[in-house]
C-alpha cells in the first residue's frame, strides 16, 4: 500500500463506511463536488448524489437536519467547512444533538458525526483559523475527537461513525498534506482511549491534533539534551482518558499540557486541574500550560508565526520545567 495524504485517508474511511452501512450519508456545503478541501471528492459519483449531498450555506439548518435524520434512522456525517462557522450550528449541537438521549430518558440516540476543520496555517486569518474545541468539551452528551496523523484520522473517523453518539470530529488544516502508509492490520481505536505517541521517562507532554507532531519533534530535540519526553496523544478530549495520563504522570512526575488554542480557558486548564486534584502528590513541579497567546489569529504570516505555539515553545517550556523541578 502506497503512502496517502491525510485527505486521501479521510476519503477512504468515508468511502468504506458508505459502502459498509447504507444508513451512512454525507452532507455539507459543496461535499458532492469534494468539499472545500477535496475530502469527499469522487464519493458522490460512486455512492450517488442522495448519499453524498450538497447543502445550502445554512449551518444552523443543516446541523438541525443532521440531528433529526440521526434520531430517525440515518447515520449522517455533516461537514462544517471551518470550525469558526460552527458558531452558527451551536444552538442545535448544544441544545439538541448533545441532549437528546438524556432529555428523552434514553428513548432516542443521536448517531451523527460533525466533521470540521480547525487551526491556523497559511494566513487564513481571524475567522478561518481558530481552535475552539474547549467550548465543545463543556457540553455533556457530546463527544470530541481530534486526530493527529492520517492513520489516526482513519480509525477515529470510522469509530466515530459507528459510535452511536453525536461526535465533533476536528481535523487540523495543517495535517491535510501529511502523508502516511495506512497500517491495514490496525484495530479501530476505542473512542475515549489516548495513546502514547512516544515513550519517555522525565516529563509527560500531553497534547492532541497537529501539535502531537510538534511534540514529537520537541521530544527528539530534547533527547539530545538528555531529557526523555513521553508524548501523550489524547485523540479524544471528551471523554478524556485520565487513566493513561495518570500512568504517565506517576512515572515522570512532571507535566506539560500543550495546545494551539489560547491558553486562557483552554482544555489544558481542565487537564491541569484534574492532575492537580487527583495526582498532586505525584508532581515534582506545577503543571506547565503552553498555548496560544490571548489574541485573535492575525493574517500576516510573520504575525501568525509569532503568535502560534510550536516546537520551540514546547522545548523552552520543558527546559524551564526541568530546571524548576527539584530532583
Amino acid at each position: 500500500m502506497a503512502e496517502q495524504s491525510f485527505i486521501e485517508i479521510l476519503r477512504r474511511a468515508l468511502d468504506e463506511e458508505l459502502e459498509r452501512d447504507p444508513t451512512v450519508h454525507l452532507l455539507g456545503e459543496d461535499v458532492a463536488a469534494g468539499g472545500a478541501f477535496g475530502v469527499t471528492r469522487g464519493l458522490a459519483d460512486k455512492h450517488g448524489a442522495t448519499r453524498v449531498r450538497n447543502t445550502p450555506i445554512s449551518e444552523a439548518a443543516i446541523t438541525g437536519l443532521t440531528t433529526g435524520a440521526a434520531i430517525s434512522g440515518l447515520k449522517p456525517v455533516l461537514e462544517i467547512m471551518f470550525i469558526d462557522f460552527a458558531t452558527l450550528a451551536l444552538d442545535t449541537l448544544l441544545n439538541q444533538s448533545a441532549k437528546y438521549r438524556y432529555m428523552s430518558g434514553g428513548q432516542l440516540a443521536v448517531p451523527m458525526v460533525v466533521r470540521t476543520q480547525a487551526g491556523a496555517a497559511g494566513g487564513a486569518a481571524a475567522q478561518h483559523s481558530q481552535s475552539l474545541e474547549a467550548w465543545f468539551t463543556h457540553i455533556p452528551g457530546l463527544v470530541v475527537v481530534a486526530p493527529s496523523t492520517p492513520g489516526e484520522a482513519y480509525g477515529l473517523l470510522k469509530s466515530a461513525i459507528r459510535l452511536g453518539e453525536p461526535v465533533l470530529y476536528i481535523e487540523h488544516k495543517r495535517l491535510y498534506t501529511m502523508r502516511e502508509t495506512l497500517d491495514e492490520s490496525a484495530a479501530l481505536p476505542v473512542i475515549g482511549e489516548a495513546r502514547i505517541a512516544r515513550e519517555g521517562e522525565d516529563v509527560t507532554l500531553i497534547t492532541y491534533s497537529a501539535m502531537v507532531n510538534d511534540a514529537l519533534n520537541a521530544a527528539s530535540e530534547l533527547e539530545a539534551l538528555g531529557i526523555s519526553v513521553e508524548v501523550i496523544d489524547l485523540r479524544s478530549l471528551l471523554p478524556l482518558d485520565m487513566d493513561t495520563i495518570a500512568r504517565s504522570v506517576c512515572k515522570t512526575h512532571r507535566v506539560v499540557v500543550a495546545h494551539e488554542a489560547v491558553t486562557n480557558g483552554g482544555f489544558g486548564a481542565e487537564i491541569a486541574a484534574r492532575i492537580g486534584e487527583q495526582l498532586f502528590d505525584e508532581l515534582d513541579a506545577p503543571v506547565t500550560r503552553i498555548g496560544c497567546r490571548f489574541a485573535p489569529i492575525p493574517f500576516a504570516p510573520e504575525l501568525e508565526r509569532t503568535l502560534l505555539p510550536g516546537t520551540p515553545d514546547l522545548i523552552s517550556g520543558i527546559r524551564r520545567l526541568m530546571n524548576l523541578a527539584a530532583d
Binding site: 444508513t23 450519508h25 442522495t50 448519499r51 449531498r53 447543502t55 445550502p56 445554512s58 444552523a60 439548518a61 443543516i62 446541523t63 438541525g64 437536519l65 443532521t66 440531528t67 433529526g68 435524520a69 440521526a70 434520531i71 430517525s72 434512522g73 440515518l74 449522517p76 444552538d91 442545535t92 441544545n95 439538541q96 437528546y100 438521549r101 438524556y102 432529555m103 428523552s104 430518558g105 434514553g106 428513548q107 432516542l108 440516540a109 455533556p140 452528551g141 463527544v143 452511536g164 453518539e165 475515549g192 471528551l238 471523554p239 478524556l240 485520565m242 484534574r274 486534584e277 487527583q278
Partner: protein, 330 residues
C-alpha cells in the same frame, strides 16, 4: 342519535379530544400555580383544534415535533395521558423519566420526537426526520408545529429553503396566535400571514381558521395528502388564539380584558359544540363527552401525582449510552 350525518358523528371523538387537552392544561395550570409543577409550563389552551385536527390525519409512524407550547400536540399524537402528566410533574414514570419536563416531551413509540425550549429550534430537525424517511424509502411524513414568533428566527427561513430544495416530506404547521411571548405580531414583523413566507420557495401553503375543527381537519387532510404523495413540503397556517398567558403565572397585562373576552368567543371547543348542536347533536351528549374526559384526565393526573419520584442515583443515566464507558468525571 342514529339520524346524525356521518360527518357529524365523526366529529364527536374529536370533540372529546379537545376537552381532553383542555382539562389536561387546566390541571397543569392548577398544579403549577400551587408549586407542584416546577419550571415554566406553557399552556396550549385555546389552540386545541390545531393539534387535534392535524394529528387526526397522521399515521403512528409519522413524526411530530413541537414547540415549548406542545402538550396538546403530544397528546393528540397518541401519548399516554398519565405518562405525559407524570413527565410534567418530573416523575420516574414520566415519558422521559423526568429528564425532559414540559418543554422536552418525547414519546418515540408514538412518533413524538420532541418539543423544544428554543423558539424555531425544531424546524430543521423535522426536516431531518423527513429526509431520513425519504432516504430510507418510508412513506412517513414529518410534522412540525411552531408559533408565528418562530418566523423571526433565521433557521425558519433556512429550513423552508432546504425543505423545498430537497422536496422533503415535511408539513410545517404554524399556529399563528398573533402574539409572540408578550408582544403582538404587528411589532414582530410587517408580514401579516406566515404563509406568505412559503411563496418565494414555491412551497404549497394555505392559511385557515385554526379554531374551527372541521376546517382544520379538511386543511390538514389536503396538506398531508400532498406531502405524503411526494409533492414536497407544505406550510399550513392556522389562525388561532392563545387563551392563556405565555407561561403559567403570566399576568397578561399586555392584553385588554375586551380582547381576551373576544378570543373566548372564538374558543374552538365552544365553536365545535355550537356546530354539533346545529347538526342535531344533543347538548347532553356533548356534556357527557366533556365530563367523561374530565374524569379520565383527573384520574390520570391523580395516578401521576401518586407515582414514585425519580431515583437520584439515576441522574447520570442517558448522558451517554453507558455511564461506565464514559467516566467523564474524575
Amino acid at each position: 342519535m342514529n339520524d346524525l350525518a356521518p360527518e357529524t358523528s365523526e366529529l364527536l371523538p374529536h370533540y372529546a379530544e379537545l376537552w381532553r387537552i383542555r382539562w389536561f392544561e387546566s390541571h397543569v395550570q392548577r398544579l403549577a400555580a400551587r408549586g407542584e409543577i416546577a419550571g415554566f409550563p406553557h399552556l396550549s389552551t385555546g389552540q386545541e383544534a390545531v393539534a387535534v385536527g392535524v394529528c387526526a390525519q397522521l399515521q403512528q409512524s409519522d413524526t411530530v415535533y413541537t414547540s415549548h407550547r406542545g402538550h396538546g400536540h403530544v397528546l393528540a399524537k397518541g401519548a399516554d395521558l398519565e405518562a405525559t402528566f407524570a413527565e410534567i410533574l418530573g416523575k420516574q414514570s414520566g415519558l422521559c423519566q423526568g429528564r425532559g419536563g414540559s418543554m422536552h416531551l418525547v414519546d418515540a413509540e408514538q412518533g413524538v420526537l420532541g418539543a423544544t425550549g428554543v423558539v424555531g429550534g425544531n424546524l430543521p430537525l423535522a426536516a431531518g426526520s423527513a429526509w431520513a424517511a425519504q432516504a430510507l424509502g418510508r412513506d412517513d411524513i414529518s410534522v412540525v408545529f411552531f408559533g408565528d414568533g418562530a418566523t423571526g428566527a433565521g433557521v425558519f427561513h433556512e429550513t423552508l429553503n432546504l425543505a423545498a430544495l430537497w422536496s422533503l416530506p415535511v408539513l410545517f404547521v404554524c399556529e399563528n396566535n398573533g402574539v409572540a411571548e408578550f408582544t403582538s405580531r404587528e411589532e414582530h414583523s410587517n408580514v401579516n400571514f406566515v404563509s406568505a413566507f412559503a411563496e418565494p420557495y414555491a412551497i404549497a401553503n394555505q392559511t385557515i381558521d385554526g379554531n374551527f375543527l372541521p376546517t382544520v381537519l379538511a386543511g390538514a387532510r389536503a396538506a398531508v395528502a400532498e406531502v405524503r404523495g411526494g409533492n414536497g413540503p407544505y406550510l399550513l397556517e392556522c389562525m388561532t388564539y392563545r387563551l392563556a398567558g405565555h407561561y403559567v403565572g403570566d399576568s397578561q397585562q399586555y392584553r385588554s380584558k375586551e380582547a381576551l373576552a373576544e378570543m373566548r368567543e372564538k374558543c374552538p371547543i365552544e365553536r365545535l359544540g355550537r356546530h354539533l348542536v346545529e347538526q342535531g347533536v344533543q347538548q347532553q351528549r356533548l356534556d357527557r363527552l366533556r365530563d367523561e374526559q374530565q374524569s379520565a384526565v383527573e384520574a390520570a393526573v391523580e395516578r401521576a401525582r401518586k407515582a414514585a419520584p425519580t431515583d437520584p442515583a439515576s441522574v447520570m443515566d442517558y448522558v451517554y449510552r453507558s455511564p461506565d464507558f464514559y467516566a467523564i468525571e474524575g
